[in-house]
């Protein structure tokens, strides 16, 4: 039996051109769906599989506005059992503030009877890419943290985690309870089932209104990078382009 918490973040699913709101504070999401990142989808899948294998409770958590309940329902559609919304009213919470809010929620859950053996997150947020919330949460809670994990085994109260590096794998071990941040590729997530969706609508969502801590990283504005408008040189059509392409490889010295 184990209790697993998965932290996810609601982000817009963007197209190839990102448009900003006039105040440059947000992505213009009028045409966009909201989702959570591939890393986090894998974290959810990993949690569901762990609970299937070991028994226990899975809880999904996010920090965001009321609208963020949609991704909590999505995660519960995939098999998470219940959800916690850390409800915020104002814009971005930096990694420090986010970590503090999660810590507060984890402690509240523990006080209410759910102590987590494992806290899973994505390796980095899809939008802000801060690479630090998991480590900050682990530090305050006094837990070990392994990041960038692409293979995870729970063995005798230990998390055995593998991280992909140049030419192979690094293996980490950490005693539970622990924080693990995962990367896409750790598993192939399932698709939501119809029954999953219908059941998820009935699963409970607990709400907390955390205090916003001062993290010290403050967004001024977003900027859209200048669009690359390079025009590809067409070497030709079909097989007849092969000689020119091989000339190119020779010129670049890779042949």
């Amino acid at each position: 039996m184990m209790n697993v918490l998965v932290c996810i973040k609601r982000v817009p699913a963007t197209g190839s051109r990102i448009t900003l709101t006039p105040d440059e504070q947000e992505i213009d999401a009028r045409y966009l769906n909201f989702t959570f990142s591939p890393h986090e989808e894998c974290a959810v899948e990993e949690a569901v599989r762990l609970i299937e294998a070991h028994g226990g409770t899975s809880v999904v958590l996010t920090l965001g506005p009321d609208a963020a309940t949609d991704i909590l329902v999505d995660a519960m559609t995939l098999g998470m059992e219940r959800a916690v919304l850390l409800e915020t009213e104002s814009g971005d919470w930096d990694p420090g503030a986010t970590a503090a809010a999660i810590v507060e929620a984890v402690r509240a859950q523990q006080a209410a009877g759910t102590a987590f053996d494992l806290i899973l997150m994505g390796n980095e947020a899809a939008d802000t890419g801060d690479y630090q919330v998991g480590i900050r949460v682990a530090h305050v809670l006094g837990l070990p943290c392994v990041t960038g994990v692409k293979e995870l085994k729970i063995d005798n109260g230990n998390a055995v985690a593998r991280r992909e590096v140049k030419g192979g794998w690094e293996v980490f071990e950490a005693p539970l309870p622990a924080v693990v941040t995962v990367k896409e590729g750790i598993n192939l997530p399932r698709y939501p089932s119809l029954r999953g969706r219908l059941t998820a609508k009935k699963k409970p969502i607990e709400r907390m209104k955390p205090q916003r801590a001062h993290g010290g990283l403050e967004k001024v504005r977003f900027k859209v990078p200048p669009e690359q408008t390079s025009v590809a040189e067409v070497l030709g059509k079909g097989a007849e382009a092969a000689p020119l392409a091989v000339d190119l490889l020779q010129r670049l010295g890779v042949l």
Partner: protein, 838 residues
Amino acid sequence: MDTFPRHARVVIIGAGIVGNSMAYHLAKLGWKDIVLLDKGPLPNPGGSTGHASNFIYLTDHSKEMTKFTLDSVRQYKELGVFTQSGGLEVARTPQRVEELKRRITSSKSWGIDAEVVSPAEVKKLVPFINEKIILSGFHTPGIGVVDSLRAGTLMRETAQKQGALTVFAGTEIRGMDVANGRVKTVRTDRGDIDAEYVVVCCGIWSPRIARMAGASIPLTPAVHQMISVGPVPQFADTVGEIKFPIVRDMDTNMYERQHGFDMEVGSYAHRPILMEPDRIPSIKESALSPTELPFTKEDFDLQLEQALELMPDILGNEKVGIRYAINGLLSLTPDGFPLLGETPEVKNLWSAAAIWIKEAPGIARAVSEWMTTGASEIDPTGSDVSRFYDHHKTKTHVQARSAEGFNKTYGIVHPREQWLTNRNVRLSPFYEREKALGAVFFETAGWERPNWYESNNKLLAEYGDRALPRAAEWESRWWSPIINAEHLAMRERVAMVDLSAFAVLDVTGPGALHLIQYMCPNQMDVPVGRVVYTQILDVAGGIKADVTVMRLGPDHFRMVDGGFDGMRDKKWLIDHLPADGSAQVSDLSSALATIGVWGPRARDLAQSATEDDMSNAGFPYGTCRWVTFGPVRALASRISYVGELGWEIYMPFEQGARLWDTLWDAGQKFGVVPAGIGVYGTTGRLEKSYRLYGNELELEYNLVEAGLARPQVKSQDFIGKAAYLKQRESKPAATLCTLTVDDNTSKSGIKRYPQGREPILTLDGKPIEDAHGRRSFVTSAGSGPSVGKSILLAYLPPDYAKAGTKLLVEYFGEHYPVMVAVAGNAPLFDPENKRMKM
């Protein structure tokens, strides 16, 4: 890549299934120098074609749409992109069971093999269906799926190989120049193209593109939700795209369609979600494509439950996941029909929009024929983009009606069903009087027209069973026996009918006679004051319009047309105006109000309201003249669509209420009743076997078949003359006949009354087909209170078109005996037309 052209015969904008089909057919018809542009990439530029579910059901209650679909299937088969799977519509409710029987009648009328099957038979065809919740199924073996992107590519490539077409993807339209009312230049981000013709095939973007030229294509983008789930174990051994029949779950407005190892579940049940064309995201801004918007899950949850209920074995499987889900954009129009043809605002700017995959190649063929020859094999009249009045083109109207129509996609729509939104747009000056008399208003062309008057309820007691009351709910819907009672009162006394919805078009100027002669096959050079009933033909001799024309002066003709047809016919007139400016067309539809006064006491009524001579000698049948009724001078025309003595009286709109009161007061001592369009359009007309445009008269039938050929053909030239002369030479393939139902009693003992579009069958229950492959079906149906019978009109091949021939009509799955009462053009009631001419 080809160099970007400066000139083109035709620029087709939009490379979805429609644009590609247009390029193919225009090239096939011999046009060269065709340029196809799209903003997006090929083969999937990001429009609705790219996310379509690509299945084709054949039967529609509309003949026009069914014919487009059947032609499209034929073309898809030729291209090798059609996979036949069969398809079912299943009923969960008794009402739907009846509707499925009605769909069988439409199938038989349009020539499609289909049958109603039991739940057990449905289960045999679709083993994973929960047959316990369905009551019956409508099975069409010929249903299938297509690869519409592949079809488009093949058609495009064929035209390219012929050297007729060049294609430029990634090309954005920046504007269009119009000169002298004619499209001239298409401006793009790659350069400008001078074009003789432009065809807008831009689906949901069409309004935006047309507006660049100042034209209107009234559609709205709307969301259709669809999910794809899989992998489905039951589909594991499927080779190709589809093995099991497609299922339409009609009562929940949903479909379930196998797509390889997945099942697509789509819905028309959710709230109508409309978009504005200007708000559609660009290709780069979209996560998937501009027409695949983010799926709004909450809108679909009820549908998930309903789908689960119907297909628990597949959809209830936890391993079957939702792999793709979109709010797909498609085009909706205010009346549900496509938008085809030259725009009335800009010459040579054509629209081919609001078209579904199932009908696209067929429509493209028709529009291409229409563009290149002036006529198409399949009659596209119902979809003609010039059918709209200005108020139809407003955002208010387009959005209201499109939203209202959306949930009718799989609905049980009664043929007389009224729109509920955006009513009370065009009100006659009599409206308040009519309302006070308990008028039940039906709408046509935006006009509120009384269909009957509740105040005439008292007549029901007077006429009893002669009012032919109806026991079955279906044919009592949007109907009242009061209509028949009003009819009888008119035949016995006199009735006043509001006809203000007429379209009235004046043709004036020194060239007016020449123009009107050229437009009409009948001799129009008649004395001033004469009224001529005539048709208008297209170049192929099809019947394009049905009008009366009053000659008001040597150079002044007034054409009176049905309100529904007015805008199309106005465009046709304007299209043929002489270049020298010697004739003009002015539209008086909104300037004149009209009252019909008919019945044996009509002369008494009229004469008591005027000092002018209304006698038969002084005001003979078929003439028109100005008459003074108290303070109002009105134009009276002595003709009748109901077969009675009387006049159509035209008056200035603002004086309408006054004249109504004058006539109404005068009529009291003669027992005048107000009568609705139910009498004018159905009962009175059918007893006289009068033809109605859009029912009996259409482009696919000719004057000879319709019994409207005159003994002589005038010497002057007119549109369609050559074809008409040819039609007169041979025996008609079918003749319009008047039939009566011998026995209306159904198996359950209730009297039933066909409503129109039902198949006429031989006595052994076989469909009847003429030499051109056209099946015989009921073109109009209704009560004939004065003849005490239920009357049907239908075209019949020569073998059957004889008075006394016994046949059957199918109605809700049962056969009723009918008899040919009249073959050709002669009335059942008052065959010698004595009443009109007395």
